[in-house]
């Protein structure tokens, strides 16, 4: 278990925080940490910056992220990792598609590989880490395009050589369903599943025998298309199959 000191914690919006910490991490873009709250839980968290100082960016969701949001400069922060593979090196025109906190993951690419960023959120108030030029979609239309970020992006797919997608599984699934699968654009997904171990042994994150934590988190569209469980069902903490609402067989 590593520990570091919090350098800074910035409130990005009503419930999203970026926490930077003092640790000389060796990480590739797209990798994640298992962040531990001593005495509490350990949760997967993408690195939003991998350059010094590294940072994570998270939405307060339950008790663990709530605790993390309360850390102050100088406090200790515990983690293991970085884990997972990384985004492949892109060339040509690049697009990033982020839903919700998925932006944290693709953010680690932005400083190195400039591209168009498509961001989706429920409302204007859920947006964070915005930069000039970001293309925005909100469910309620309170900012940018009214609708999903996928609907905003899909018409433009052929404008890009590389596309990197990170967001909730139904969002990624919707891209798979809506995209012209014959496109020449190289599309990569960073996937998220319930993760207990983060190192590829507990099977809690597996989709068709592929471990999101160790074989991923980043997969090409071809790999994702082979996962016939993807977007159809996930696993609860017990390992029980739980169908995504729209795909119940």
């Amino acid at each position: 278990m590593n520990h570091a000191r919090v350098i800074d914690i910035v409130k990005e919006n009503k419930d999203v925080f970026t926490l930077s910490f003092d640790f000389s991490i060796v990480a590739k873009p797209g990798q994640f940490l298992m962040v531990w709250v001593p005495g509490g839980k350990e949760i997967p968290m993408s690195l939003s910056h991998i350059t010094s100082p590294p940072s994570i960016t998270f939405r307060v969701f339950g008790e663990t992220t709530k605790f993390l949001s309360g850390l102050r400069k100088g406090d200790r922060m515990y983690f293991r990792g970085p884990y997972g593979n990384s985004y492949p090196e892109p060339s040509g025109r690049i697009a990033y598609i982020a839903g919700g906190t998925g932006l944290a993951s693709v953010y680690s690419m932005l400083s190195k590989y400039i591209g168009d960023v498509f961001v989706g959120a429920r409302t204007k108030d859920d947006l964070f880490l915005l930069k000039k030029g970001f293309k925005i979609a909100t469910d309620d239309g309170s900012a940018g395009f009214k609708g999903t970020v996928i609907d905003l992006f899909v018409p433009h797919v052929d404008d890009y050589d590389y596309v990197f997608v990170c967001g909730p599984e139904p969002m990624a699934k919707s891209l798979l369903d809506k995209i012209d699968r014959k496109t020449k654009t190289k599309i990569y997904f960073s996937l998220e599943r319930l993760m207990k171990c983060g190192v590829g042994i507990c099977d809690s994150c597996s989709v068709n025998g592929i471990r999101i934590c160790k074989d991923g988190t980043i997969f090409s569209i071809e790999e994702v298309l082979k996962m016939n469980e993807f977007g159809v069902f996930k696993r609860s903490e017990s390992g029980k199959i739980e169908f995504f609402a729209k795909n119940k067989r």
Binding site: K41, S238, K240
Partner: protein, 300 residues
């Protein structure tokens, strides 16, 4: 090339390397992946009567000499298991691990898995970190005896009794479960770990099971003790990471071995690496088949 087929009770295996219960064997997809990657067989994660979420994270913690875990027997419960596995294609190469708090639960679980066509069961009499099941049941000689006999009487299943090493008298436990077709030795050692800067336990459950290289000397001793005393089929497990480790277990009487924590170090390539190494050793040392070295160091 030397033959590495083996048998455990009446179960014939193409190779002796089996995936241990609890590691990458919750989902049917992962079980198939292990078999495709060269495992001779796979044991499922332990299944109980009802759904259990298991402990909250952290459920694992790496230490220098192995791994601590307290996953807490998370499992979807037998109904959901049956649902997922009823048309599973590799039932003959899959041993279903079950746990329960009493004889009846074990018998029910065994019946349910036999119904859907599995023919082998491993009894988790040994998980060291969940109250009322696992090693708490597995230390009670009478209950162990009854569980094994009842399952043998009421089903046609091959039964592997997975015993706990956390006892004074392993031989007594082996004798209590002697109606089993084989012993699986060993489950994890009861252990704990500390993080000194937060002054908190590294597992949410405080106490966990210790696996990996650090437990191999204890596992070898358990296999030796039980094989010497009983001569029965033994499936050796505990800290096996390399083919050399596997050979050590065979020489002391194991007819097959299981691999768990080594998946963390070697990933899915571990099966072929270990199998290749075993073959090469047999060839180099002039043995024509694995059988020739099983128990070779134990005078019986």
């Amino acid at each position: 090339m030397a033959s590495i087929t083996t048998s455990v009770g009446s179960f014939s295996l193409e190779n002796p390397v089996i995936l241990a219960s609890g590691i990458l064997d919750e989902t049917s997809g992962s079980i198939l992946r292990s078999l495709r990657s060269g495992a001779g067989a796979v044991v499922t994660k332990s299944i109980g009567i009802s759904e259990r979420k298991g402990y909250s994270t952290p459920v694992i913690s790496e230490v220098g000499t192995g791994l601590l875990n307290a996953v807490g027997l998370s499992n979807p419960g037998i109904d959901n298991f049956v649902e997922e596995y009823k048309s599973f294609p590799e039932k003959k190469k899959t041993i279903v691990s079950i746990f329960g708090g009493n004889v009846e639960e074990f018998v029910t679980l065994a019946g349910r898995i036999e119904e859907i066509g599995f023919d082998k069961v491993e009894l988790n009499l040994s998980c060291p970190h969940v109250k009322g099941v696992g090693s708490e049941v597995g230390q009670d000689l009478d209950m162990v005896e009854e569980i094994v006999s009842e399952i043998k009487n009421r089903t046609k299943l091959q039964v592997w009794a997975k015993l706990t090493p956390n006892v004074t008298d392993l031989i007594a436990l082996a004798k209590a479960s002697e109606k089993a077709d084989a012993y699986t030795l060993i489950n994890t050692l009861r252990a704990t770990g500390v993080e000194i800067y937060s002054r908190k336990f590294v597992l949410s459950n405080t106490i966990g099971g210790y696996s990996g290289p650090g437990i191999k000397p204890v596992a070898l001793r358990a296999v030796y003790d039980v094989y010497k005393e009983t001569g029965k089929s033994i499936v050796g497990v505990g800290g096996i990471t390399t083919w050399q480790d596997a050979i050590e277990f065979f020489l002391l009487g194991a007819r097959a071995i299981q691999i768990g924590t080594a998946l963390l170090y070697e990933d899915y390539s571990v099966y072929s690496k270990v199998n290749q190494g075993i073959k090469k050793y047999l060839d180099d040392e002039g043995f024509s088949k694995l059988e020739d070295i099983i128990g070779a160091m134990v005078a019986r």
